[in-house]
């Protein structure tokens, strides 16, 4: 047990530091904090100009989506970059428990995603006048935690795919942009064509953002329990898929040496 936890926490955070490309402050601040901040301003002002939805609609949506920089890109890097550095061999030759190795990397990614989202909400409050009721803050935080967890789990699946796929960078970027369109970040799901909202409902963020909007407007946690539960289910599904794919790839690699080639 102790060994599992060691690999999970310590191993996970060291690997994250080694593989996450934007870890230095000079790269972290512009990418993880600067860009989401301006994204928030952009869409909120655009929504205002187009007379589309309320200001809070955009602030909640974009602040939660802000975690995607970490949870999608960061998580993908934390897994797929092993290939780039050639450290997959020594990892697989070790006796370490695979689920601890794989899931452990999600912890720093989750923490990072929460930090970014929180930063975005605070910016929304300071710059754009976001004022949820005092009683809404804790429920909102809870919903955000679940949603970021779900997005991180999605990133795990992408990371596993990235271990094998030739040009995963393209796929990760594509996923990021499609989430911007399908998950109700800036467009209510009801206004999207049927197939788009169907895809959105299978992706992370969608249910969490919907729940967060209601909570920010004053609804209780119990009221959005269904949405939150769905988001949690999605998180579990993606995490399991990512871990399973990782193990399948490892097995396949022992048969066909496919993970060595890069």
């Amino acid at each position: 047990m102790r060994r599992w936890l060691g690999v999970f926490f310590v191993g996970g955070s060291i690997a994250y530091r080694g593989l996450f490309n934007w870890i230095r402050p000079a790269t972290y601040i512009p990418t993880m904090l600067g860009a989401p901040l301006f994204q928030l301003i952009f869409f909120t002002k655009l929504g205002q100009y187009a007379h589309a939805e309320s200001r809070d609609f955009y602030i909640v949506g974009n602040s939660i989506q802000a975690c995607a920089m970490s949870s999608v890109y960061g998580m993908t890097m934390a897994v797929a970059n092993e290939r780039w550095f050639g450290t997959l061999g020594p990892l697989l030759a070790s006796p370490a428990n695979r689920s601890a190795v794989f899931l452990g990397r999600g912890v720093p990614v989750l923490a990072n995603g929460l930090l970014v989202s929180a930063f975005s909400f605070v910016a929304g409050a300071l710059i754009l006048g976001f004022r949820p009721g005092v009683g809404a803050v804790i429920p909102l935080a809870a919903v955000v935690v679940v949603t970021v967890l779900s997005c991180t789990a999605f990133g795990m699946l992408l990371g596993s795919i990235g271990l094998r796929a030739k040009d995963f960078f393209f796929a990760a970027n594509l996923a990021y942009f499609l989430m911007l369109l399908f998950c109700g970040v800036n467009i209510p799901l009801e206004t999207l064509p049927g197939w788009m909202s169907a895809v959105g409902r299978c992706l992370p963020l969608t249910h969490g953002i919907a729940a967060a909007r209601e909570v920010a407007a004053g609804a209780s946690l119990g009221h959005v329990a269904g949405l939150v539960g769905t988001e949690l289910g999605i998180a579990a599904a993606y995490a399991v898929a990512g871990l399973t794919l990782f193990r399948v790839l490892e097995r396949e690699s022992r048969r066909t040496a496919v993970l060595d080639a890069y």
Binding site: F42, Y49, I187, T191
Partner: protein, 256 residues
Amino acid sequence: MRSLKVVASGFQMNLKMLGTSSFFLLTAIVQPIIFATVAFYMFRAGGRNGTLLYAALGAGMMGVWSTTLFGSGGMIQWQRWQGTLELGAAAPPAMALIYLPFSLANAFTGMYAMAATLVWGRLVFGIGLHLAHPWLFVLALPATVIALGLMGLVLASTFILYRHANALSNLLEYPVWIASGLVFSTSLLPIWTRPISWVLPPYWGILAIRHAALGGAVWGPLGMVVLLGAASLLISTITFRWFEHAARARATLSLT
């Protein structure tokens, strides 16, 4: 004459490289289309249907900026990874001259972004391209694209010095969209941002393009575009020299 040849050959080579990269496909086609779609839905929800062309042109320009930005930064970073950055510094022609064609090629790939956005808008959202002043439009669009390319050249010079300038690229995408008033009016922004908007080529560029399409004064904004483009070119020759000197002093040309 030699300079023109350097520019021309660099231009050709860069276009070829960009044509084969999935990164290009992403920034020049996929990203603009997705952002345009979001903008279209947002404008449609607001019920301002007549302004969908406004949104289309703005979204297209957003794409031009993205390709310029990531292209310029990526070009230098790519050279750094390939180890050819030092070669460029050691070669006789001035660095600004060597990278000018790359920047221009990048900006022209931005035309793909504009074209993709307009075609997408027409096919999926029924946005017709009715131009009030067609000839001025044909003039304003390339002029703006070139000016943006030159703006990208100045950025590229900073990337020579800073190894992690890619992060800076991430940071500069949205702010330029915001300050240039590409898809919403700058009247929504605080007054102190006005001067920032006025020195950005895309601010005047989108005005020129928009007025050429929807009606309004084109020559004023167009003149500003040309002026700012020329200024960017001048600034870039200075900054290239500065930053290259600093990079050689700090020995960061070969580091990845």
